[in-house]
Amino acid sequence: MVQTEALLSIRDLSIQYVTRDMGCCRAVNNLSLDLQKGETLGLVGETGAGKTTIARGIMGIVPNPPGRITQGSIFFKGEDLLRKKKKEMRKIRGDKISMIFQDPMTALNPVDTVGEQIEEVLKLHQPGAGKEEIRQKAVQMLETVGIPGERIDEYPHQFSGGMKQRIVIAIALACSPELLIADEPTTALDVTIQAQILELMNKLKGEMNTSMLLITHDLGVVAEMCNRVAIIYAGEVVEIGTARDIFKNRSHPYTQGLFNSLPSVTGEKTKLKPIPGAMPDPSNLPAGCPFAPRCGYACEKCMAEHPELLPVEGEHYVRCWRAAEEEQHGIAAG
């Protein structure tokens, strides 16, 4: 993994929220990730695993206070975003990196027309362009995402949820970004609309040659969209690999748990096996493996020592003592 190869590479990133009543809350811990040009990386995990915080960290919009990036670096095309000045960061946001938010119902400013909101990002990043040109581009963007251009002067409340998400996508892609961060883009939508939106994103991503970081807790979405998948638990990567690796050879007990809590459509009627317990309190993380308290295979070592991210095979890594050992045994046995 050479840094210059990857479009985005995160190294040892830690983000904390410090509040008066809650104390220090470690949302992201020593996280490292790479995203190659043109690929789609899925970040999968439960609510509260720190996925959104990672996205905000990359965008440089972690709410501060209470949030603070305590260590690490985020290289985007070889440059550390965390070392950039605010003003430089503003130039990158919306232009080179842009973001789609979870809830389209609230992501649009209710008092501006959708046209104004698309034009806003264009104006910021194409200062030379004339008024007419920007408006043309906004109309064109609307049509690209499948909304008739003549609705440009309407307000967000006049659109349905799916339409609003299309508009949010139009805003995010207006400047043809190199990296698109999509934070649960379909969670708030109906299933039929979900498929349309995913298809639209896939299509535009291909056309614009954009790389994508897709945050979701929906393994179905992952299967559809992602080249590679990172499973996030308690603010760290517990398993990462190609989508095929993860789906065929899930190694971390948490990943297995995620799959077991999915109802099966094809197979026989099996009982769902939800993962018992809840995420550890991020203000009070256990010393060992953060998943150990919920893990059926946990041993003493898991409770005491924090596992490393160890290779399973090829680009497939897992952060689990047992899985890593088993794999070696497996190799030895085979």
Binding site: M59, L124, H157
Partner: protein
Amino acid sequence: MLYYIGKRVLLMIPVLIAVSFLIFSLLYLAPGDPARIILGDDAPESAILEKREELGLDDPFLVQYFRYIYNIVTRFDFGISYATGEPVVKSLLERYPVTIELALCCMFMMIIMGLPIGILSAVKQYSLLDNVSVTIGLVAVSMPNFWLGLVLIMIFSLRLRWLPASGFYGIKYWILPAMTVGFSNAASLLRTTRSAMLECIRQDYVDTARAKGQSEIRIILHHVLGNAWIPILTVIGMTFGRLLGGAIISEQIFSIPGLGKLMIDSINMRDYPMVRGGVLMLAVSFSVMNLLVDILYTFIDPRLKTQFAHRRFRKRAS
């Protein structure tokens, strides 16, 4: 849009009629025979009967009410003052500008002090500035303006002798009354602005704007304040009523010849036509102010704007 404004204006008319009816009947029930009030306690019975006849006091209540409204609408005639024998409307028109001037003055102070500090305090939540302004705001909201007025007079007029304690002859005379009423209202505007801003500052569209690379200042002024206007405007509109009420008290304290002082004086002299006219005028001003605020909403909130502009289109669509 015009349709909406027209509708609001028309809707205001029944309210105003009801207000006038309420005020008229309340003061109709007030103790004391008007004829006796005018002529004095030792007037002969025959003169009183004659006066009652002349004023139409023996007519049924409703007849008197409609005559009153009819005279206002057709001739802008609010009746004759019991105390001076002159038309009420003359005194009202003389005093009205003073009260409105004072209220606008207070409003100006309130907006100048309350709005920027409220915005800053929301943007820098939990900072020193925020804590200080929230504390001062709390104290100021809890301070009755008649007491603040007295304290200000004690400090600035009696002790320091910087500002005059009474009268209304120039800028110097305005400062204390405007502070008296403006201060507590500024505090309530500050509190509303702060909480309205805080409500909007954590919204997703603010993050969307950040993700676009928009600058913080533009985000605060355009995206946050743009959405916080509605509660802020409501408070400004509602406060106008409080300012009018407060104006009565500060006019009393600072001996300012406005409507409020006129009313209190008239109440003491049992000059009910004057009171009635004054209250009616203040109530109408308050209603007009609220109407203006309502109309302003439609310019600010597109949900209202489109509701009326695209009414037909929406019906078909749904």
